[in-house]
Symmetry: C2
Subunit: 201 residues, 2 copies
């Protein structure tokens, strides 16, 4: 079956997370046999995204403009800043409909064993963001896993030392424990997330 | 989280078989965060393959040259032609080490309900291939599923009417029933495939 361009495609598909050699073969054969238009569209979308998608200057999420759509939306509540681990977690919060403030996306969580330190997470950028003079409350919407807990603890310490408007200390809260322990936020059902937002502590 | 290029990428990834919205998000985030080089390589490999990979003129498998590597190999036994459903099945036979003839790749199997007829499978091209005056035996290495059985039956009828060298009728054989019934050929272990080749009937 081996031709060089087909093999290159199969090898390249294996760089996607969760894709082994069998899956990569199936994907390549499917596109070649049934959906070349889709294959070309995927090539174009990949090239454009790898070239142009960077991080939002304010919230650190992925964006192909300097400010993302959420940060560009002036109608949100500037007194609240919600810290999440990933764009997927942010999307889950948005879908819950329970939050109208702004976000900061860590793009990970502290994991000393994997070499993810406060520096990799851009905690300095979060500190600067929380010091904009309008933020009064920072909501830590982190996963209730061991690494999420460590991250929350470290951020709570750092953020608690910041003064907000009128020299009041920032209020630092966490999602209520309505979220099942040990779970990844993006897989939690929406009403649970909505309740956890109301009961944040 | 929404930016247009990121969303386009997630949508495009969902066209891959077996990839839902969660997997597509994970793939996009992984490439953007950890492997932009891999993302660019995948874009290039996709574009090249969609543009250049066609079907081998002799055996119908995917190839970016008019003749594939196997058909270009003059050292194989031209008296044997093995009919398989897919390039993955062909690869499994090659790995078994039990076969040194040529192949014809159907790129599917007869499935009247899904609109896959003898025409879509290119059975005419197989007939022409089997009439090259050198082929003496056609081995039907098809899956032992209902659709594979129907395909084998139809091909057996058609190929049995062809005369080979010296006006002898073509011998049409099938893999021995060493292959577990109901299974997909590409997932069968190699020694079973090798035995089934020896015991073909
Ligand atoms: Zn932003
Ligand atoms: Zn060929």
């Amino acid at each position: 079956m081996a031709t060089s361009q087909l093999n290159s495609l199969i090898e390249a598909l294996r760089r996607l997370p969760g894709v082994g050699v069998k899956s990569a073969q199936r994907m390549a054969f499917h596109l070649l046999q049934h959906d070349r238009t889709g294959g070309v569209a995927l090539a174009d979308a990949l090239a454009a995204a790898m070239e142009n998608v960077r991080h939002c200057e304010r919230c650190n999420t992925f964006s192909d403009t300097p400010l993302c759509d959420v940060c560009s939306d002036g109608s949100r509540d500037a007194r609240q800043l919600c810290v999440v681990e990933s764009p997927a977690d942010q999307a889950a919060l948005e879908r819950s409909g329970g939050y109208r403030g702004y976000y900061f996306v860590l793009m990970g969580r502290l994991s000393p064993l994997d070499g993810v330190s406060t520096r990799e997470l851009g905690v300095q950028a979060l500190m600067a963001r929380a010091r904009d003079g309008r933020v009064q409350e920072v909501i830590l919407a982190l996963s209730f896993t061991a690494e999420g807990e460590v991250t929350a603890h470290v951020l709570q310490q750092a953020l608690g030392a910041i003064r907000g408007p009128d020299e009041q200390p920032l209020q630092v809260t966490r999602l209520a424990r309505g979220v099942p322990a040990g779970s990844e936020l993006e897989y939690v059902d929406l009403s649970t997330i909505a309740h956890a937002l109301v009961d944040r502590r």
